[in-house]
C-alpha cells in the first residue's frame, strides 16, 4: 500500500531546485521523469536544455558554470554509463561543483536485488569514481538534493542524487 509519505512529487523536486538556485536543467527525459519534465517545462524561472545524448549535458553545464550560472544535470543511470568520458574529463578533471540527478532505473528498494544491470552497476561505478551520492525515494527525503548541492559547492566536486522512485 502506498502511503502519503511514500510519494515523490515532481513539485517537491522543483522546490528543491528553486532552493538550490538552479538556473538551468540540462536534461534527457527518462522513464522515471515524465512528470518532472512537465513540471520544469512549466516553470519559467528555470531554463530547460534538452540534449540528444547524456554526455553533452556535463559539457553544457561546465560552460554555464563558467559564466556564473547554476546548472543541474538530470539523466537516467543508463545515460550515466553513456557519459563516461564527459564525467571523467569534465566533472572530475575540472572539479565541477555539479549536482547530477540520476534516475535509478531498476532499483527495487533497500536490500532488494536490483531488477537489471543498470541498477546493479550504478553505485559501484559511483564509488569507483569517488562521486558521493544520496538516495531520494520520497517527498520526505528530497531535501537531500539541497544537501548534495551544498556538498558540491563546499567541496568543489560533482555529487549525484539517485532517484529511486517514479515521480507523481
Amino acid at each position: 500500500m502506498v502511503t502519503e509519505t511514500d510519494t515523490l512529487k515532481a513539485e517537491s523536486i522543483i522546490e528543491q531546485f528553486r532552493q538550490c538556485g538552479f538556473t538551468h536543467v540540462v536534461n534527457l527525459p527518462d522513464t522515471e521523469s515524465k512528470f518532472m519534465y512537465d513540471a520544469i517545462a512549466a516553470d519559467s524561472s528555470i531554463h530547460l536544455i534538452p540534449v540528444c545524448r547524456e554526455g553533452e549535458a556535463m559539457a553544457i553545464a561546465a560552460g554555464l558554470f563558467l559564466t556564473g550560472k547554476r546548472p543541474v544535470v538530470q539523466i537516467q543511470n543508463t545515460g550515466f554509463f553513456e557519459s563516461g568520458d564527459s564525467i571523467r574529463g569534465i566533472c572530475l578533471e575540472m572539479k565541477l561543483p555539479l549536482v547530477m540527478i540520476i534516475g535509478y532505473r531498476g532499483y527495487a528498494g533497500p536490500n532488494q536485488e536490483p531488477r537489471d544491470s543498470a541498477a546493479r552497476f550504478l553505485e559501484p561505478m559511483l564509488n569507483t569514481w569517488d562521486i558521493p551520492y544520496y538516495l531520494v525515494t520520497s517527498d520526505a527525503n528530497c531535501h537531500l538534493i539541497s544537501e548534495a548541492n551544498a556538498r558540491a559547492v563546499n567541496e568543489g566536486r560533482t555529487v549525484a542524487v539517485l532517484i529511486g522512485k517514479e515521480f507523481e
Binding site: 540528444c52 554555464l64 563558467l66 556564473g68 575540472m94
Partner: protein
Amino acid sequence: MARMIGLEALKLLSRRRTNEIVIMHESNRADWPVATTRPELDYLMAGAMGKASSFTLGLALGRPDAGFWVLDGDGALLMNLGSLVTIAAQRPANLLHIVYNNDTYDTTGGQPTPGSGNVNFEGLARDAGYASAFTFSDLETLDGALDEVLAAPRPAMLVLRIESNGRRPTAPGLRRSAEALTYLKEYLAQSVLD
C-alpha cells in the same frame, strides 16, 4: 578535391576577430595559437572527446552578450553529432561553429574518419536547424566571403576543408587546461566584455 592549408585559413579568421572567445579542440590546438593575436581570449577544451561544441553552447547561453567561436574538428564533431540538434534548438545568436575539416584523426596520426570525404557538415548543420552554414575549400574564396560569413545569422557553421598534417604537438606556450579554466572564469566574471 581542393583543400586549404589550415593555418592560413585560421590566419584569415584571426585577422577579422575582434573580442570573441575562441575555444580550441583536438588538433587545431597546434595551429590556432600560431594564428591568434589575442591568446588571452583563447581556451583549449581538452579532456572530453568531441564535447567542445557542447561546452561552447553552455558558455554562449550563459553570456549572450559575448561572442564565442568553437574550433571543432570533423572527427570530434562526428563523436558528438547530436550536439548540432541540441545547439540549433537553443538558437544561440552568439555562437559560430567552425569545423577544421581534414577528414582524418590528426591527433592520432592521420587515420581517415568514417565517411572520410563524403560527409557534408554544412548540410548536416542546416538540416539540424542552424541559421546559416558555409563551406570553403580555397583561401581566396574564403577571404572574399568571410565578412558575409561573420555577419550571417547564428548559430552558424563554417566548414574549412583543409589538408591533413598528421599528429603534431600542442603549440608551445598554450596554457594548461586547469590554468586556462581559472583565467576564463575570471574573465567571464567581468560585467562587460571589451
